[in-house]
């Protein structure tokens, strides 16, 4: 049986590479994200309630809502988990580094295959679309509502904003450079439906992507990237973000060299699961918000 929502939130890691990388991105959105772990702790944080009876009622209702498949929360979880499915063996090996010592991804170089730019651009685009679809599933907005999603990005905060920040930084800036959004769009225009179908992440999440057939889905992905391009470009420009600044932060706990950015991107992709981690936090947040209003 799949895990309950309280198990998922209770079992989120307090530390490890994913949390270290996300904390390193705090300088981009200062104070926006804290790693809230535990279902009850999340209830207290979201609602401000401390009354045990109320916490019980809120948690019970959230559990019911999550388990009702018609409500879309499980689809959202599945999307967050699926786009983040990584080579956990490598991640586990990285985490086996002694506490306090820098994580040396250089030691894994022979096990890492960097993505060609085109594949990286496709990955970024697919993650972006997964975010859009998960947003619609969670909030109850029709699944192809690009406009609603783009409008709501301005209001993204907390763990959702951190997920977008990580997407921009780790799947955009580091592997593709400062003009990653334009690059992604250019590459998407060159991708054929057949190539898209060969992408393993796409082939898994395909049933939830809007669009008629793979060609229609490819068009939807292109439209989504095009619509979010402005937000991503502004996000980077307003904060004057560069791959070098990101490296500076990651060097706090990771041995990184500037000429191996594509390897670094692949390493982070393989050894972290920031999408699933923050996705579970978003999901818990929204469920609890609804539960406290319904009890």
């Amino acid at each position: 049986m799949s895990k309950s929502i309280y198990e998922l939130v209770d079992q989120l890691p307090q530390g490890g590479l994913t949390v270290m990388v996300l904390n390193a991105l705090d300088f981009v959105i200062p104070g926006q994200w804290e790693n809230t772990v535990g279902f009850e702790a999340t209830i207290r944080k979201v609602t401000g309630e401390t009354d045990q009876g109320l916490i019980q009622q809120i948690g019970d209702r959230a559990v019911w809502l999550f388990n009702d498949k018609s409500q879309g929360y499980q689809n959202a979880l599945w999307l967050y988990q699926t786009v983040d499915a990584t080579d956990s063996a490598l991640g586990a090996a990285a985490l086996a580094n002694k506490v306090g010592e820098k994580v040396s991804f250089l030691g894994f170089l022979n096990k890492i295959t960097p993505n060609p730019e085109k594949a990286q651009a496709l990955d970024l685009s697919i993650k972006l679309v997964a975010e859009l679809v998960a947003f619609c599933q969670i909030n109850g907005i029709p699944g192809d509502s690009i406009g609603d999603f783009v409008a709501s990005l301005a209001d993204y905060s907390g763990e959702s904003l951190m997920r977008m920040t990580a997407l921009v930084c780790l799947d955009g800036l580091i592997p593709l450079g400062p003009d990653f959004a334009l690059k992604a769009l250019d590459f998407i225009e060159q991708v054929s439906p057949k190539e898209l179908e060969q992408n393993s992440t796409f082939s898994k999440i395909k049933p939830l992507i809007p669009g008629q057939g793979v060609a229609g889905q490819l068009e939807f992905i292109g439209q989504s990237v095009d619509s979010v391009k402005g937000w991503m470009t502004n996000f980077v420009a307003q904060r004057d973000l560069t791959p070098q600044k990101l490296l500076g932060q990651l060097r706090g706990f990771m041995e990184v060299s500037e000429d191996k950015l594509d390897y670094l991107a692949a390493f982070i992709d393989m050894s972290t699961n920031y999408y699933e981690h923050t996705g579970i936090q978003t999901l818990a947040h929204r469920l609890i918000e609804r539960a406290v209003a319904e009890i």
Partner: protein
Amino acid sequence: MLKKFQKLLTLALVPFVLWVSLSACTPQPPSRFEQAQQESTQRGATAVVKESSQGAKFNAFFPPVEGDYKRIYTQEKQGFAEAKLKRAGKEVAVLAISDVLNNPAAVQKFQTSSLTIAGYPAVQQGSMATALLVEGRYQVKVLSRDASFTAQDRKQWLEKFNLAGLAALQ
């Protein structure tokens, strides 16, 4: 002598090792939410019934905003709609309407409360929420998200909903 010491040390360590391995094997106590988990995963269990009103129908009854305030709709589901209330860019409260058909237990708290707001049965729930009940069917709730948003603010914002319109909703 050394061997004897080693033997003694080993014997002394046995209870400790046993204790450590036993505690490692002790299963986690069941979660306080386990009963809800079991009940809600039974065949045929649903959190939302199809008879409940569409959340989209509720949006029209939310209070209008002006000045420093901004209202952002966040969730719109079967039997539920919710919006954030921001003041000067900061989230201060959440406004929500829900159909109690999806959670009939929500009605009980109104039955034991003597409070009314705008003529409707109302209740202060915990330290952060105030709710009222329209026509025994629709729960309207304002939840503080910031200490500056007081119980008095919650009451005022509840009064700003189009409650008569909601009461007429079929």
